[in-house]
């Protein structure tokens, strides 16, 4: 597969999509780090939903050069899905520029459930490594 370098992304074009299921095993691992999130069960805790969106973004933009830096994040939560829901994150490049020798890139990430309901909308801003 072609390495997803800065040049391979075009503004306005979908970069990819990936589907994740947050199962009980994933929730159990999450609660080891953030036990207070138990209060959200049986829905997916908001922070784990964010982490799941990041898994989706990573899956949609692989293979990536190592060393990318996450610079900013926008998130708009719509709904907390139930554990076990199938969640698809669609990633679109919405901006890129070179500033002070850094490759800045912005992705829109939209997470929906299997019924097409909006779950979480986001923008991810990164300094791309190559």
């Amino acid at each position: 597969m072609t390495l997803r370098t800065f040049e391979t992304f075009d503004i306005g074009r979908p970069a990819g999509e990936a589907t994740e299921t947050v199962d009980q095993a994933a929730v159990d691992r999450w609660l080891e780090l953030f036990p207070e999130d138990r209060k959200y069960l049986p829905t997916v805790p908001p922070a784990l939903l964010t982490a799941t969106m990041m898994r989706g973004y990573l899956g949609a933009t692989s293979p990536r050069p190592p060393g990318n830096v996450h610079a900013g994040q926008y998130l708009a939560l719509r709904e907390l899905p139930k554990i076990g829901a199938s969640l698809t994150t669609t990633v679109t490049c919405v901006g890129k520029e070179i500033k002070k020798d850094n490759r800045w890139i912005e992705f829109r990430a939209e997470m929906r459930d299997a019924a097409g309901r909006d779950i979480l909308a986001g923008k991810i801003t990164l300094i791309w490594a190559a």
């Binding site: 994933a26 780090l33 953030f34 207070e36 982490a51 190592p66 830096v69 994040q73 926008y74 907390l80």
Partner: protein
Amino acid sequence: MSDALPEVTLAVDQAAIAKYAAITNDFNPIHLDADFAAKTPMKGIIAHGTMSLGLLWQALGRAFDPAELSRLAIDIRFVRPVRIGDTVTAGGRRREGDPGVHDIWVRNQRNEAVIEGTARRGQ
């Protein structure tokens, strides 16, 4: 509701970073490989930014119920890396004159900002 968000703290060690890497499937060597990370502009291992963002969700979750959280928009910048051995604290304060907005942050043990941004309700 109080103007200040309840603060939440996390001690960051390699084990926590490794756990977070497994949860997110983000094995970027900048988070896990000391030799690789030393050669990057970060000059060493840094924790995943969204792990500190997860801490912010904890603080927001102590202040807002799930229905309110589902109408929340968060807009943040990662302003400083988090290193192994850091202790980070998430918090925020309702903005004066703009009751639908909280200025939110994560700070390290030196009271330096790690994350800065806003949480806006009713989006």
